[in-house]
C-alpha cells in the first residue's frame, strides 16, 4: 500500500515531521517494495488552510495511509472523507516509521489537535 509520511527532509533517512499540514515534505512510500517518491509540501508556508491542502495532496497522490505526529481538525475531515487511515508515528526516521507500520506497531489516530498547532512548531 501507499503510505505518506510527513518528513523534515527529502529522504527515507530523514526524521518524521510531527506536523501534518505544515510538514516540509511528504515521503510517499510503497510499504511492500520500499520504493518512494518525495513531494515538497507547498502548503507548509500557506497563509491558511494548510491542513486542507495537505489532505487534498494525499487524495491526489492516492495514498491509503498517512503517518504523522499530530493532525488538525480540517486535515482530519479531508482524510476521513477519503477513508485514508492515519497513524501516529514515532520520533524517528521515515524508514523506521514505515517498518513499524509494517509490523503493526503504530497506533491509529482518531483525535485531532487544535487548529494552528503546527505553526512555528
Amino acid at each position: 500500500m501507499l503510505v505518506a509520511i510527513s518528513s523534515k527532509g527529502n529522504s527515507m533517512e530523514c526524521m518524521m515531521d510531527p506536523r501534518f499540514g505544515r510538514a516540509e515534505y511528504f515521503i510517499i512510500a510503497d510499504t511492500d517494495t520500499m520504493e518512494f517518491e518525495v513531494v515538497e509540501n507547498a502548503a507548509a508556508v500557506a497563509g491558511g488552510g494548510a491542513g486542507i491542502t495537505s489532505g487534498q495532496l494525499m487524495i491526489d497522490k492516492d495514498v491509503q495511509a498517512v503517518i504523522t505526529g499530530n493532525i488538525g481538525p480540517n486535515a482530519m475531515s479531508v482524510l476521513a472523507a477519503a477513508n485514508i487511515e492515519i497513524y501516529r508515528g514515532v520520533s524517528a526516521s521515515v524508514k523506521e516509521n514505515v517498518e513499524k507500520l509494517n509490523k503493526g506497531l503504530l497506533e491509529e489516530i482518531s483525535k485531532t489537535v487544535p487548529p494552528h498547532s503546527g505553526i512555528n512548531g
Binding site: 502548503a43 500557506a46 497563509g47 491558511g48 488552510g49 494548510a50 486542507i52 491542502t53 489532505g55 487534498q56 487524495i59 491526489d60 480540517n74 475531515s77 479531508v78 472523507a81 477519503a82
Partner: protein
C-alpha cells in the same frame, strides 16, 4: 474629515483617546472598528437601537452538476475547498468570499449562499457605530467594510482601529485624512509604533503621535519621534487618577476640565495636520 486611531501594540490607549475625542468634539461620529473586542461603548454608553447582521457569500456545491474535476479547489487561494473522490468539502470559516471557485467551475455547480459572521450596531442617529465579529470567526474585514458604508462624510469621523498593523487596520484607515498613532514608552511599544509608522507612511496618510503612559523614566518614544521628525501631538502621563477612572469606565475628559481642554487642543491639531 476621517481620522484613524491606531497603535500597533494593543493596550496603548486607542479607545481612551478615540472615546475622549468623541466626547469633546461636537456632532462627531465614532466608529469602533475593533470588531473582535469593541469597547468604546463602555465609555460612550450609547443606546444601541439599530442592529443588522453582516453576511458574506460562501460556496455551496450543487451535487447534481458537480463532476469532481477539482478546479474549484485549485482556484481557491485560501485552501477552503477539498475535492475527495465523490465528495466536495467546503470550509466556510477559511473562505475569503472572493468567488473564484464559482468562476472556475466549468459546470456551474457552485452556488453562493449567505452566511452571517457578525453584526453592526448603531445608535438612533448613527453617530455611534460598532461592529461585532461572531466568536470563532477569523475574518473581520467584511464587518469593517459594512461599518465604513455608514460614514457621515460631512462630520468629524473617529475610526477606533483594531490593534496590530495587518489587514484589519489597513482596511480601517484606508481613505482616512489623518491618523493618530498611540504609543507607550516600553520596548514593545517602541517596536510596534515603528511598524505602525511604516504603515501610515506607505499608505501616504499624514499622521502624528499621542504618547500615553508617558514618564520621564523612559523617553524612547520622544527620541524616536525626534529622530524621525514626527510630531507628538499630546502626552498623557502615567497617572493613577486616569487609570482609576478607566477601570470604572470614566474617561480622562470626565475627570477634570484640564483634560477636556487638552483633548480639544488635540482635535484642533488633528484638523490642522490633515489640512497641511
Amino acid at each position: 474629515m476621517k481620522v484613524g486611531i491606531l497603535s500597533g501594540k494593543g493596550g496603548t490607549g486607542k479607545t481612551t483617546v478615540s472615546a475622549s475625542l468623541a466626547a469633546v468634539v461636537p456632532s462627531c461620529q465614532y466608529i469602533d472598528c475593533d470588531v473582535e473586542e469593541p469597547n468604546g461603548a463602555i465609555f460612550l454608553k450609547p443606546e444601541l437601537k439599530e442592529k443588522s447582521p453582516v453576511k458574506v457569500l460562501v460556496p455551496e456545491i450543487d451535487m447534481t452538476k458537480c463532476n469532481f474535476c477539482g478546479l474549484c479547489a485549485k482556484a481557491c487561494q485560501f485552501n477552503a475547498i477539498a475535492v475527495v473522490k465523490d465528495k466536495v468539502l467546503v470550509f466556510p470559516e477559511i473562505c475569503h468570499h472572493c468567488g473564484a471557485c464559482k468562476i472556475a467551475c466549468p459546470n456551474d455547480a457552485i452556488l453562493e449562499v449567505e452566511r452571517t459572521i457578525g453584526v453592526v450596531e448603531a445608535n438612533e442617529d448613527g453617530t455611534f457605530l460598532q461592529g461585532k465579529l461572531d466568536v470563532g470567526e477569523p475574518i473581520s474585514i467584511p464587518i469593517i467594510n459594512e461599518l465604513k458604508k455608514h460614514i457621515k462624510e460631512d462630520r468629524f469621523v473617529i475610526l477606533d482601529c483594531p490593534p496590530g498593523a495587518s489587514c484589519a487596520v489597513v482596511n480601517s484607515i484606508e481613505g482616512c485624512d489623518y491618523c493618530v498613532l498611540i504609543a507607550e514608552p516600553t520596548p514593545f511599544g517602541l517596536h510596534d509604533i515603528k511598524i505602525a509608522v511604516q504603515l501610515v507612511k506607505n499608505m501616504g496618510i499624514p499622521f502624528g503621535v499621542v504618547l500615553n503612559k508617558a514618564s520621564n523614566d523612559n523617553r524612547s518614544i520622544h527620541h524616536f519621534c525626534q529622530s524621525e521628525g514626527i510630531e507628538i501631538l499630546m502626552a498623557i502621563p502615567f497617572s493613577k487618577e486616569i487609570a482609576e477612572g478607566y477601570s470604572k469606565g470614566i474617561l480622562p475628559v470626565e475627570i477634570n476640565d484640564l483634560w477636556n481642554e487638552k483633548f480639544k487642543k488635540l482635535y484642533e491639531k488633528i484638523e490642522g495636520g490633515a489640512h497641511k
